[in-house]
Amino acid sequence: MTLVSFTQPDGRNLSKAGITLLMAPFFMLIGFAFLYPLLSLLSISVTEPQFGFQNYERILDTPVYGKVLLRTLWIALLVSILSLFLAFPVAMAMVSSGGAMAVFITACILLPFWSSVLVRTAAWAVLLQRNGIINEGLQAIGIIDGPVRLLYTQGAVVVAMTHVLMPFMVLPIYGALRNIPQDYGRAAAICGAGPLRSFFEVTLPLAMPGVLGGFILVFLTALGYFITPALLGSPQEMMIATLISQQLREFLDWPFAAALVGVLTLFVTAITLVFSRVFRFDRMLGGQL
């Protein structure tokens, strides 16, 4: 099945050259605004201060950078898993509710996109601060005696990033769930499956393309996430994007920052390749239901 067909008004398909011509603006934009800067940055990492891999050796030789990298992977994984567990019920509710309710839920999911990530992150800073509403609330009901440190912790980063990234999990899962015909649930029921078995035997396997798509989207975005960890995280527990920014702006060490970018790019590419090999992107996006 082709996703898009290029058909002229008279019904003939476009030639290869025609298709290439139509795609040219897109490839030019990607090339100039994305590939060129990335490649020139990566070239700095192996040419300055002198030609060689000394910047990468520094990353390998200094344990703290390895720890930053591991922490970044861990937080991204945690955010993805949390998003998955929060997003699945929401997506199910969107599919099973009809009319006004479905519109309302969709609006709740999409509304945050209208405000910037910065605003949403700042909102969490207000909520989590020493005399913020969460600390005061917990004291009021007697769970804690005095204010506890919520802001500038890994927990704050995970919570806020989950909040920001969850819509990217909801939408692919919603798409996958919506494509499952109602009759499959009925067929499962008449075959003797109760609601739980029906979910695990039929709904979940058929929603997997959406789950994996959402997971990759959230995980990869979280790997390179900058604003939220920078504003809410602890400086002692940096994520890689914050580290890169620090190297650039505070130490003006472009070659080393570029090497860090190289490592991050390597990870993202590797994970994408593994996922697309193991789970077959084409099936995920083509959706053979």
Binding site: R186, A189, G192, G194, E201, Q288
Partner: protein, 363 residues
């Protein structure tokens, strides 16, 4: 699969069944007794409530009133997974992520059967629908007819006593449909299972079912064996819905029938369907029961030919009575004289071909 006399078909009793969706009454005070091992077709136009009845039999919809008893057990509010019913859906609804054998074994898995046993029974069910050897394929690799057979195998693998079918053949092309009709009939007589089959195709209903229930507006119009349904429809709706029927307005004076163009007919008492009060009535006659004769033949209806449609073995004549009523005749093409448009002919018939409906039967 072995035949088991004790596990043949379920007896079903539907009493006063009603389903309302807000203001709309989809099924209205419907009662049907279905015998063990019977093949019942629910036939009706779209919106007649036939699918809703099936949904309630399956347990996907809860009736707003009335009761459904299967094998003497009240199932009105029982969820579908506890009814032990087989069902074939309109679009097959095979699970796309499972192989053919896993699809067929699915109901057995839900019943906690061990893997080896369910694979064996699933292969047996695939043999019954003549798909042995297809177990390892995925549903997407099968043709429409093959998918339908897999759906059938999945519905019968746990030997349910009741099999529901929701327009299962409507997605197939004509040749395949006829083949599957015979296949399902064969299965029905082999397994002895009770079948309730929803269709809007009257030919399908007449071919397959022991009895046909005609539904309209959520009510049963008639439940009869196929032959009776065709030869003696209980009312004008059934008469018009099943096959072609000429309906000629007339007056019933208590002993004879007066047509608008002046003919007076004396139909036998058996021709009167139900009670026919004096006054307005309808004369019904099947097109294939008419013969072409000379216009002045006694007892024949005089009509003007409007169209002659030759179709090989048979020819369709469309003619008009003097009062403007269209009348159709399907006659064998052999020996048919050459007819011209506007020519006056006589349409003769046997007395037992006549059916007379009183005015109230129009409802």
């Amino acid at each position: 699969m072995t035949q088991d006399d004790t596990a043949a078909g379920a007896g079903i009793s539907v009493t006063g069944l009603e389903k309302r969706f807000g203001m709309l009454t989809a099924v209205d005070d419907l009662s049907i007794e279905i015998e063990s091992g019977e093949f019942l077709a629910l036939l009706g136009p779209s919106g007649s409530g036939k699918s809703t009845v099936l949904m309630m039999l399956a347990g996907f919809e809860v009736p707003t009133a009335g009761s459904i008893t299967i094998d003497g057990r009240d199932c009105t509010r029982l969820p579908p997974q506890k009814r032990n019913i087989g069902m074939v859906f309109q679009h097959y609804s095979l699970f796309p992520h499972l192989s053919v054998i896993d699809n067929v074994a699915f109901p057995l898995k839900m019943r906690g059967e061990a893997k080896a046993a369910r694979r064996r029974r699933a292969s047996e069910a695939l043999e019954v629908v003549r798909l042995d050897g297809y177990g390892d394929r995925m549903p997407s690799q099968l043709s429409g007819g093959q998918r339908q057979r897999v759906a059938l195998a999945r519905a019968i693998v746990y030997q349910p006593r009741l099999l529901l079918m929701d327009e299962p053949l409507s997605a197939l092309d004509k040749n395949l449909r006829e083949e599957m009709q015979l296949e399902i009939k064969r299965l029905h007589s082999e397994l002895g299972v009770t079948v309730v089959f929803v269709t809007h195709d009257q030919g399908e209903a007449l071919t397959m079912a022991d009895r046909v229930a005609i539904l309209r507006g959520g009510r049963v119009q008639q439940i009869s064996p196929a032959r009776e349904l065709y030869e003696r429809p209980a009312n004008l709706f059934s008469a018009g819905f099943i096959g072609e029927m000429n309906m000629i307005p007339a007056q019933w004076d208590g002993s004879g029938l007066l047509l608008n163009q002046g003919d007076r007919l004396d139909p036998p008492a058996a021709a009167l369907v139900g009670r026919v009060p004096t006054g307005r009535a309808t004369l019904a006659i099947r097109p294939e029961r008419l013969r072409v004769t000379a216009a002045d033949t006694p007892g024949a209806l005089a009509a003007d030919v409007e169209e002659v449609v030759y179709a090989g073995a048979g020819t369709l004549l469309i003619a008009r009575l003097a009062d403007g009523t269209e009348i159709r005749a399907r006659v064998p093409s052999a020996n048919l004289p050459r007819l011209r448009e506007g020519e006056r002919i006589g349409l003769a018939f046997d007395p037992d071909a006549l059916l007379v409906y009183g005015e109230e039967a129009a409802a």
